[in-house]
Amino acid sequence: MTRSRIIAAYTFVTLAFILLFARYSYLQLVGYGQFLQKAINNYSSIVSTPPIRGAFIDKNGVVLANNTVSYAVGVLPKNLAKSDDLFYQLAKYTNITDLDKLKFRNQLKNSKNYDLVIIKDDLSNTEVAKLTAHNYEFPQVSIFARTKRYYPFEEIYSHSIGYVGRISSNDVLSIAKSGQTRDYLTNDYIGKSGLEDYYEPILRGKLGKKIIQTDATGNETGLISNTPAVDGDTIQLTIDNGLQKLAMSLLGGEKGAIVAIDPQSGGVLTFASQPSFDPNWFIDGISADEWVGLRDNPGKPLLNRALQSSFPPGSTFKPFMGITALYLGYRTPSTLTLAPGYFVIPGSTHRFRDNDYPRGLGAINMQTAIVLSSDVYFYKLALEMGIDSIDKGVSLFGFGKKTGIDLPHEVTGLLPTRLWKEKRFDKDKFQRNWLPADSVTIGIGQGFNHYTPLQMAYAVSILANDGVAVKPHFLDKVLDENGTVLKTYAIESHAIPIKKQDIEFVKKAMQLVVSNGTARGMSYGLKYTVAGKTGTAQVVATTKNGRKPKFAGKQFKDHSWFIAFAPVENPKIAIAILVENGGFGAAKAVPIARKLFDYYLLGGTPESEGNTKSKPTIESKISVDNNDNKESIDYESPS
């Protein structure tokens, strides 16, 4: 054997080992950090555990929304082979509807390996028993308990507390837009409406993060770290559950809204809107039938009438007109004004009639005008003040502005200005100017203005509170799971620049409305003092061709308003009641107020029916032959 072969052999061996040493040094010494991270990524998976959502309780601790345990059958996406086969297998023991399948597929689209995707929720005990017993047939599925939102009072709070629902891609987008981190699972719940939406950050809590070790096939083999979930906090509301239930039942089959506020604290005692719906339907996605039923219901149960539906205030606007006149010096309490049976704007021929007093009331002062609800008095006053002055005074009571209540999507209503009209009718040379007739109709709360029941309640609460405006709110306290108070709501208030004696004067007039005037139907056997004002919002003024319509159907009856507070000396409750198509203002709304006040102030069940049955009332039923108002405003459409 030649020497070259021996050298070649040694060279080969040496080079081979140098190569191996070099490669392993590179991988293990240079690449260590990088490969270690890859190894860690290989075996660790994050499993998130949802926190328990905070509850809602009323001012007395009654639970209004909390969580129940619901049994569900679900599957980890990584274990799922063919969903149809699985549905078929499971169908032997539980009924899987097309809706369930649809929801399942939607969830599956954006779920990670360790998010259990729910196949069917709310299993009955029998279903749980059957599925558990037969679990060996479909070992990939798990039957598990989860917490689920539950609204024990069903439709009572759907327009205040609202509801939660499964997080949607839109929710994810808006969370991303707001710059927060997405702390939700794919099948997680998020506040969708009302207080559930507004107070999401308090109620939500924080996701727990469990990092588990998994093998190559994804099976869990151990626990690496565990950060437990932080449960959400409970919110105590200013709501009085008894009063709310009573309000909802008093509205009964009517369409309408009731907002009651504690004028001194601004706490919302009642926030009712009828018809309503069961928020429990929305939690896991509403079925198509239920949805169509709600959407096509002529009563529009999904519409939040207290917050988002605005109507002309009718005669309930008169006290605010009066106080504006006193504030700006257009009238004194003793000024007498002649109130004939109709009013004509100087230089025109159109007669603004007073249907209740066609023969006129003679010379009257402001108190009489409010108590009797004289239209002509306020026509005159409005024309005299003009829209600018009206705006200056009534806007102090929050008309045309959001109250800033802690609910999402509040509407502003409309307190018109010259500028508003210019923009609104910018193509119509004649209409775009503010006309004297526009002011005249606003004087009695008709025409271009409309407000939400919440705004009306807020306005009357400012009056009740002697000119101190307290921002209305639902939240009273934030509690932890032991009931310890974490945070108490800080009242936001400001005094409006109106003299106390002017307010006292108007309050006195409103008290007389209840004792002697249009709302005297509620005064029989009254054990406390009440001040209030009735009102009627016209549904239809005139048709487009200017002719008075002949409508018989209920949907064309006027809306009935009532605003009030009690007791007058030390107001504990201020209220605004709207009954759609309730007809004459006092007929429907006033008796409701009496029952609510009795309940709230006398601390018990309302007095029996007979006592509060309405006696004949005088109501300022107005019919304005308003040729200017060619646009018929659809008061019912939510903004």
Binding site: M1, T2, S4, R5, I6, A8, A9, Y10, F12, V13, A16, F17, L19, L20, F21, R23, Y24, S25, L27, Q28, L29, G31, Y32, Q34, F35, L36, K38, A39, I40, N42, Y43, Q213, T214, D215, A216, T217, T221
Partner: protein
């Protein structure tokens, strides 16, 4: 003392005449084998016992062959070669198919005949050349090449290209050490390079894709690149000191495919780190240098060529296996010698070292 007892006594004495360095290193590698296999099998005692039995058998084979006379070896060359060919042909008819490859025979226990060829071929070729020690003609080379090509084709057809190439190279080492001229070597290399496109044409798709994957493992991280990537992660994440015995995450969470056999070095690398890799490489280096030393100090041509060829083949197995797992060669089914699980392979390897021991013993006396 009767006759048989006397023979047994001398046999025991003979054992101590074997090269102590080689025996010691082999024992060390055997111990490492048990250690690593225990971890790689996820503490499977039954598996470990099986492995232990194979090791024991292989050591017995080592001692028996180590004590054989060289002439015995020469006389066994042809029968062993013929036996290996018969076994390879039997595989075609009676072989067990696993994953589409027919590589195993069941003769009570499962054996892999191609492993036997790794030793039978160099033994046969060396024996053939030792007969022609006065001037080897090019005709002899062609005859030797045919002897080499028969088992290669049979193995490559199983298909098991990896083992086939190893058998082929073991024969090439014999040709090299038997003195084939450098001109001839260069000619063959050139021929190989020119024929690469043709060979490529005959490769199976899975073999081609392995070569592709080697070039860029990330191109298919969940498919063909998976083995290489996971192997490299296991090795790299071991770092200097390793994650600790039985604490390899890649190993025990099943990210490593074939961790008992072809990818066994990843287990060792992950759990014992660079230190562990250095220990095993040092053992291999010492073993190989000792073996080459024995080879080149042997007096007769048969011993020199055979010992050198066996050693160089051994070297090649290490290089290809460790290189493949670390991502520098394509994934071919080559076990890491003496560490990977596999009865036939280990026994044949030990038989090879037995031959080296026998050659060394012969040199001494």
């Amino acid at each position: 003392m009767n006759h048989q007892a006397k023979r047994f006594f001398y046999m025991i004495v003979d054992l101590f005449q074997l090269d102590k360095a080689i025996v010691f290193i082999l024992l060390a590698l055997g111990a490492i084998n048990l250690l690593v296999q225990y971890s790689a099998s996820d503490r499977n005692i039954a598996y470990l016992i099986n492995d232990g039995i194979y090791l024991l058998i292989s050591f017995v084979v080592l001692f028996i062959i180590g004590n054989l006379n060289l002439n015995h070896l020469k006389s066994m060359a042809i029968p062993i070669y013929i036996l290996s060919i018969i076994l390879l042909i039997s595989v075609i008819f009676f072989g067990i198919s696993v994953n589409g490859a027919k590589r195993w025979l069941n003769i009570g226990i499962r054996i892999q005949p191609s492993e036997l060829s790794k030793l039978a071929v160099p033994l046969m070729l060396t024996y053939y050349f030792s007969l022609k020690n006065q001037g080897i003609t090019w005709l002899n080379y062609i005859a030797a090449f045919i002897l080499l090509l028969i088992p290669f084709i049979l193995i490559a057809k199983q298909p098991d290209l990896g083992t086939g190439i190893l058998v082929l190279t073991s024969g090439c080492f014999v040709l090299f050490f038997a003195g084939i001229s450098w001109r001839m070597i260069i000619a063959v290399i050139c021929l190989f390079l020119f024929s690469t496109p043709i060979i490529w044409h005959f490769l199976h798709d899975y073999q081609r894709s392995r070569i592709f994957t080697l070039i860029n493992p990330q191109s298919d991280p969940l498919g063909k690149g998976y083995h290489i990537i996971q192997g490299m992660i296991a090795i790299g994440s071991g770092g200097l000191w390793g994650k600790g015995y039985l604490h390899g995450t890649q190993t025990h969470l099943n990210f490593i495919p074939e961790k008992n056999t072809d990818f066994v070095i990843t287990v060792l690398s992950e759990e014992f780190g660079y230190i562990g890799v250095c220990v095993i490489l040092m053992l291999y280096i010492m073993l190989i240098f000792r073996c080459l030393n024995i080879a080149f100090s042997a007096e007769d041509i048969f011993s020199r060529v055979l010992a050198a060829s066996i050693t160089m083949s051994f070297m090649l197995y290490i290089l290809i296996n460790m290189g493949m797992v670390a991502g520098i060669f394509p994934v071919v089914g080559v076990p890491l010698p003496l560490i990977s699980y596999g009865g036939t392979a280990t026994i044949v390897l030990m038989a090879g070292f037995g031959i080296l021991l026998a050659i060394n013993r012969q040199n001494k006396y």
